[in-house]
């Protein structure tokens, strides 16, 4: 696994030597570890990954047009194999106090701000250490106090395969000052069907009253491995909304870790995953209410078809004295075919008495009555099923802010459902 690191860059970082050390200290998680109970690393370890090559010239702006979502106005950042590509990026006009650029450049230029914040929030894990030790590049988003970005920042991760399986390790640092507001759209996609791995680490720190909307579209190729480790620190009154759409990758694991550092903060995590034949979608959510009066919401919906597998492991921890915490977790799954599997584990750990905490989980199918209703109105069975599935997914898709993005996602979900229609009886 250490083959995944070394890039002639990590010596810039004070964090890197520690990360290297950690790599040798941290053990590879097995299914005996509670957090990896349902997810085996076997298929990942079978690959002989090498650090991703710089493929910045592999695509031209014409190719990019095929990837772009028409009518989506954004501050665009393009990363190829984890590296920032200025030629394809279009940051547009940024207000004063807003800084968006290559993390590598920011670290290299000794930007005090970036250096002091880097690696301060990321949770401890083998894959975080791997990312820190071998990171390619990424984006630093710094918004000063009260800076408001009207248009979303769009982060497009493009993977381009090589003869050999590669690993890209993008790293993003997002720091919003007090009262700052921004939206970030992250997209993960690939141009070919090569085997590769994305090991992304994202650190987000929100100042007081900051508002951050974070929309993530994981649409990697069907041969890809995808890992995301997202750490979020929220100060008082800050608001975070995350919408996680997972459609791609053969094997993916997304860990979202939230820590409340100030009171009256709100964290809303929404998710939709669609696992088809041969796919594994693994989500781990960990929300810690360390201080009183915070609110958290977790709402994940999954559709399973073919021999798809999904794991949902949500944990809400309410610390002692974190009174008036309000947490609700919900995980609903729609199972469409034999051979599919879902393992869900919504946990609550409550150490304060004046709290409102709940969780709900369901696993079910398309109800025959609903199908009958639609069919009795002349809608064919496959179309009716598709409509019902899209309706189920719609709750999450509608959380996306931009209409063009909602349409884009709905279309892809629809396509996927058709693709796996053979699995629907």
């Amino acid at each position: 696994m250490t083959g995944m690191i070394s890039n002639g860059f990590s010596h810039w970082l004070t964090a890197a030597p520690d990360a290297h050390k950690q790599l040798f200290e941290l053990e590879l998680p097995t299914t005996k570890a509670e957090a990896w109970r349902y997810t085996s690393l076997k298929s990942l370890l079978e690959q002989n990954f090498t650090p991703a090559e710089d493929a910045a010239n592999a695509i031209q702006s014409d190719d990019l047009n095929k990837i772009l979502i028409p009518d989506l106005m954004s501050h665009r950042v393009v990363l190829i194999n984890g590296r920032y590509v200025p030629e394809l990026s279009a940051l547009g006009d940024l207000p004063t106090g807003a800084q968006i650029g290559s993390l590598r450049a920011a670290l290299a230029s000794h930007s005090e701000m970036v250096r002091s914040q880097f690696n301060q929030y990321a949770f401890n894990s083998l894959f975080t250490a791997l990312n820190t030790a071998g990171l390619n590049d990424g984006v630093a988003v710094l918004l000063n106090r009260a800076v408001v970005l009207k248009n979303p920042i769009e982060l497009i991760h493009i993977s381009i395969g090589a003869n050999q399986p590669q690993v890209a390790q993008p790293r993003h640092l997002i720091v919003l000052g007090d009262g700052a507001r921004a939206t970030l759209i992250e997209r993960y996609l690939s141009l070919d069907a090569a085997i590769y791995c994305t090991n992304a680490v994202i650190e987000i720190a929100l100042g007081r009253d900051a508002v951050f909307r974070h929309e993530r579209l994981q649409m990697e190729s069907e041969n890809a491995f995808h890992l995301t480790g997202l750490s979020l620190k929220q100060n008082a009154n800050s608001h975070y909304l995350g919408v996680n759409i997972g459609l791609g990758a053969r094997w993916s694991r997304t860990e979202l870790v939230t820590n409340f550092a100030g009171e009256h903060a709100e964290c809303d995590l929404q998710g939709l995953y669609l696992a088809g034949d041969g796919q594994l979608m693994d989500y781990h959510l960990d929300v810690t209410h360390a201080v009183p009066n915070c609110t958290s919401r977790e709402n994940f919906r999954g559709i399973l078809c073919g021999k798809g597998r999904a794991v949902f492991d949500g944990r809400v921890l309410v610390a002692k004295n974190a009174q008036k915490s309000d947490a609700a977790m919900s995980n609903n799954n729609l199972m469409l075919s034999e051979g599919a599997e879902v393992d869900t584990k919504p946990q609550l750990e409550i150490n304060a008495d004046d709290v409102k905490c709940s969780h709900g989980t369901t696993v079910g199918q398309i109800e025959p009555e609903k199908l009958f209703y639609l069919r009795s109105r002349g809608i064919s069975a496959p179309l009716a099923r598709r409509m019902l599935c899209l309706g189920f997914a719609g709750e999450i898709i509608h959380m996306l802010h931009e209409e063009v993005l909602r349409d884009y996602v709905a279309e892809h979900v629809g396509q996927r459902l058709e693709f796996s229609a053979t699995g629907l009886s």
């Binding site: 399973l304 584990k345 008495d353 709290v355 369901t362 079910g364």
Partner: protein
């Protein structure tokens, strides 16, 4: 609104059933090795197959390590400091009727509110009372025998029904299952055996009262209940223990075997000594309970009210093999003082159209720590399986904690699984509403808590439901949230 002093009062309240009956025990010196296992077996005059079975378990136990995954904390148990056998002195000439029973023993039961004679007449319950490790009182044997029901201590069953024991003992909870079950298999002292033949509805509710009495003696009960095709039996298990300082280990194993169309209803009220305000003393209750629905439409219903023990580690489970088999789990668990409980259930859906219901109510007060840990697994062939789970926690006071750790594994697309969990406290509004109607704070709390637990109490046999409600109000008197 929170009256800390009232909570403190409860936390400090002396254990109601804390007394020790002076009775001469025939107890082994502390320690465990193969000789002790052999000696237990010899003392009970067991046939060779049992001795071998115990030794096999003991040897396997040596290879195992104590489980540490549960959310409970306690000093490491020194298994060599425990005495593994204790029998009331008169065990050699077993009593034939109540008259022969040591009056001191009977007095103990009176103190616990278990008047054997009265129960015989009033409640129609056959009582197989276990005082320490050997059964000393068995009633109603005759009328049960007429129905063809076997209800006796497991040591007797080893002698009298060795074929049934050979066939079934350890078939649901094998000795390799877990650390404590393995220990139990090696050293189990006694317990209950029930056999209900085909088509028989047991004419009365069967009941065993356990009581841990001898100092430093771990109690290793083993219960085996078999319901043949179409049979029905309701079994009640109730426990209290006298006060003492040393932690006492209790590692019981309960096995239920249910054939087609049969049903076993297993109810427990557990009120062992929970330890004092500092968490000193109290029973360690590490129990393995499992039922196997082997036939179609077989049904197992577990109901438990857990208010005692310093540490509870217990997951009554159902293996739903037969088509249309049903598993139910209703639980009220109360932790106060320094009590810790890690409890829940496992519902393993194997057969088609199997159904399960889980209702778990946890009440945590004082410094109580409670975890619901449950597994619902719907296997690849469990077409049309259904599960509904509800686990609610009620927190009283800001020192306690309540965790919910459900595992849900679904491998069949026609399965329907719902899981809900909530955590709340007794709200000021609820209290105000009750008080404005003239109820005292205490009555209001008791009423709200009883309402919170009603779904579970409804599942208990009547006599037990009354006892359970009483237990609950004693446990939580004055604890206002």
């Amino acid at each position: 609104m929170t009256s800390t002093s009232a909570v403190d009062e409860i936390v400090k309240s002396e254990y109601e059933h804390g007394f020790t009956t002076e009775i001469v025990s025939d107890t082994f010196p502390p320690g465990l090795n193969e000789d002790v296992v052999r000696a237990i077996s010899a003392r009970k005059g067991e046939p060779t197959f049992m001795t071998e079975w115990r030794l096999k378990a003991y040897r396997h136990w040596l290879t195992m390590t104590e489980p540490e995954w549960a959310a409970v904390h306690y000093p490491k148990i020194d298994f060599q400091s425990i005495s593994y056998f204790s029998a009331p002195k008169r065990s050699e000439d077993a009593p034939k009727s109540l008259d022969e029973i040591d009056p001191i023993l009977l007095e103990t039961y009176q103190k616990l509110g278990i008047p054997l004679e009265e129960q015989k007449v009033l409640a129609g319950i056959a009582v197989d009372a276990v005082f320490d490790s050997v059964s000393v009182a068995t009633t109603f044997r005759k009328s049960l025998a007429e129905a063809g029901v076997i209800f006796c201590s497991i040591s007797e069953a080893v002698h009298d029904y060795s074929d049934l024991i050979k066939q079934h003992l350890g078939s649901v909870v094998p000795h390799t299952d877990n650390y404590y079950a393995c220990l139990n298999a090696a050293v189990f002292s006694d317990g209950t055996f029930v056999y209900v033949p085909k088509g028989v509805r047991c004419p009365m509710e069967l009941s065993t009262y356990f009581r841990i009495n001898a100092r430093n003696t771990g109690q290793f009960e083993r219960t085996l209940i078999i319901a043949e095709e179409g049979a029905y039996v309701s079994y009640l298990e109730g426990c209290t223990a006298p006060q003492r300082d040393e932690n006492q280990l209790h590692a019981a194993v309960v096995e239920l075997i249910v054939m087609a169309d049969a049903e076993i209803k297993y109810s427990t009220v557990q009120n062992w000594y929970p330890g004092d305000a500092q968490g000193k003393g109290g029973i360690y209750n590490f129990v393995t309970k499992r039922g196997d629905c082997r036939g179609d439409r077989a049904k197992i219903s577990w109901t438990q009210v857990e208010t005692g023990s310093a540490i509870t580690w217990k997951y009554p489970s159902c293996l739903l093999r037969g088509e249309g088999a049903i598993g139910e789990f209703y639980s009220v668990a109360v932790t106060k003082g320094c009590q810790q409980a890690d409890t829940g259930t496992k519902m393993i859906h194997i057969g088609k159209n199997t159904r399960s219901t889980i209702v778990s109510k946890g009440i945590s007060a004082g410094k109580g720590q409670q975890t619901y840990r449950g597994l619902v697994r719907i296997g690849q062939r469990a077409e049309g399986a259904r599960n509904h789970t509800q686990c609610d926690s009620l927190l009283i006071g800001d020192q306690c904690s309540a965790n919910t750790v459900p595992y849900i594994e679904v491998k069949h697309p026609s399965a329907n699984m719902e899981h809900e969990a909530t955590t709340s406290k007794i709200s000021d509004d609820q209290l105000f509403y009750c008080r404005s109607r003239g109820l005292t704070e205490e009555d209001a709390v008791s009423m709200i808590v009883n309402g919170f637990c009603k779904e579970v109490f409804n599942e208990l046999p009547m006599e037990f439901a009354v006892e359970a409600q009483k237990l609950l109000s004693i446990s939580l008197e004055g604890a206002v949230g």
